[in-house]
């Protein structure tokens, strides 16, 4: 069975660990970690990903800029992007969604909900690939 790849972009090691740990429950999914926007773009270029989970407040390149950069890349123009962040204001959410994020979760996260959303995105992505 093919494995789907998830990229987790998050500068806090604790949060990165928590997300990776939670995603162990997702079937046939492999997690790759990145520490900031620039590192994230590097990973995206080096492999093919089916889902990107990103924080917003990160050094070097923030998550909002990362979302904009991902959508600019023809290879990733429709990859599902889930934003996980401390920023709960409508302005922040609107900005992320306007730039192309598909979903937005605030911290502290409910790992059960995170898993649900990821499974849904991966399922849709698999179905779309099979239809193509």
């Amino acid at each position: 069975m093919e494995c789907q790849k998830i990229l987790v972009v998050e500068d806090s090691p604790t949060m990165r660990q928590l997300i990776t740990f939670a995603l162990k429950r997702v079937q046939n999914a492999e997690v790759v970690e990145a520490t900031d926007g620039v590192d994230g773009l590097k990973r995206l270029a080096a492999d093919t990903f089916d889902l990107v989970i990103t924080d917003i407040n990160m050094p070097i390149m923030d998550g909002i800029k990362l979302v904009a950069m991902i959508r600019k890349d023809p290879a990733y123009v429709d990859v599902p992007i889930l934003v996980v962040t401390t920023e709960g204001a409508e302005e922040d959410r609107d900005r992320a969604m306007a730039l192309g994020a598909n979903a937005y979760m605030t911290k502290p996260v409910q790992t059960g909900r995170l898993i649900e959303i990821c499974e849904q995105f991966l399922k849709e992505r698999k179905a779309a690939a099979e239809r193509a």
């Binding site: 806090s12 604790t14 949060m15 928590l18 401390t86 911290k107 502290p108 409910q110 790992t111 059960g112």
Partner: protein, 275 residues
């Protein structure tokens, strides 16, 4: 008088006779019909009162009635089982939600503990504590205080969402912070929605204790906007921090001291052996 004369008496007699005959015939027929009908009526009455007809009907109805009863029983049975299944389903769903929440909590606690003990670098332990409080609890303003043995006061060593310089040094046993740490009692604000930032009165005080010895405290002064109240996870995280953060900080401090001692001794030895 002529034969065609309508007034001819013999003619009229003839006509009268004919009419009488016809009448008689008609009456005869009526009588016969009457006889027939009476006979038929008797027959039908006999049929109706005799058990035959009832028996036939009953014979047909009884099995049908029995079938209806059987089906109704089955239906009731199914309804009962459906109710049981629905109840079971509901209890499974409730249990699932409980287990999921517990799973989420355990994941948080596991990762927090894992990270705290993953390093002996003091600055990294402090950073991990901050990460736990920001990401896992969801606080926006907080500070970590360490108890200084010599002065017996809690000194702020790290702050988030606040300026470190604005934070007071708190003697053990004084103020909200000092008292809670001395008593080694976790303090939690009861009315979270109406709390406003107050350096004299934190929302949460987590005493950091090594066994029964206080070594410091974490004070939370404000939560992220989307966090409305504390939950079970938070209580458990505070308890975990109370013990594990203290251990991790102490271990790191000892490590730094011994590393320093080691490098001092090494330096000394190098100095001596340089000749």
């Amino acid at each position: 008088m002529s034969p065609s004369d309508p007034q001819d008496p013999s003619q009229r007699a003839e006509e009268f006779l004919q009419i009488f005959h016809k009448g008689a015939e008609f009456t005869q027929e009526l009588l016969k019909e009457n006889e027939r009908l009476r006979y038929r009526l008797l027959e039908i009455e006999k049929e109706a009162t005799s058990g035959d007809r009832e028996d036939t009907l009953a014979k047909h109805l009884r099995p049908l009635q029995a079938r209806i009863d059987l089906l109704e029983n089955e239906k009731r049975e199914f309804e009962r089982r459906l109710r049981d299944v629905e109840e079971e389903n509901l209890s499974f769903a409730t249990r699932y939600v409980e287990i999921e929440a517990e799973n989420n909590m355990l994941a948080n606690l596991y990762i927090a503990s894992f990270q705290l003990h993953a390093t002996l670098e003091f600055s990294e332990v402090v950073r991990t504590i901050s990460e736990i409080i920001i990401n896992l609890v969801g606080a926006e303003a907080f500070a970590v205080y360490l108890l200084e043995e010599k002065s017996g006061a809690l000194s702020p060593i790290s702050a988030e969402g606040l300026d470190l310089e604005n934070l007071p040094v708190v003697p053990l046993g004084e103020g909200f912070l000092g008292k809670a740490v001395q008593r080694q009692d976790l303090y939690l604000e009861k009315d979270v929605p109406s709390y406003t930032l107050n350096l004299e009165r934190p929302m949460v005080v987590i005493p950091l204790c090594l066994g029964d010895r206080p070594v410091g405290g974490i004070a939370v002064y404000g939560l992220l906007a989307q966090k409305e109240n504390f939950s079970k996870v938070d209580f458990e995280l505070f308890r975990l921090l109370g013990g594990h953060a203290a251990t991790a900080l102490s271990a790191a401090r000892l490590h730094t001291l011994s590393a320093r001692k080691l490098s001092t001794m090494q330096g000394f030895i190098d100095l001596l052996t340089q000749k």
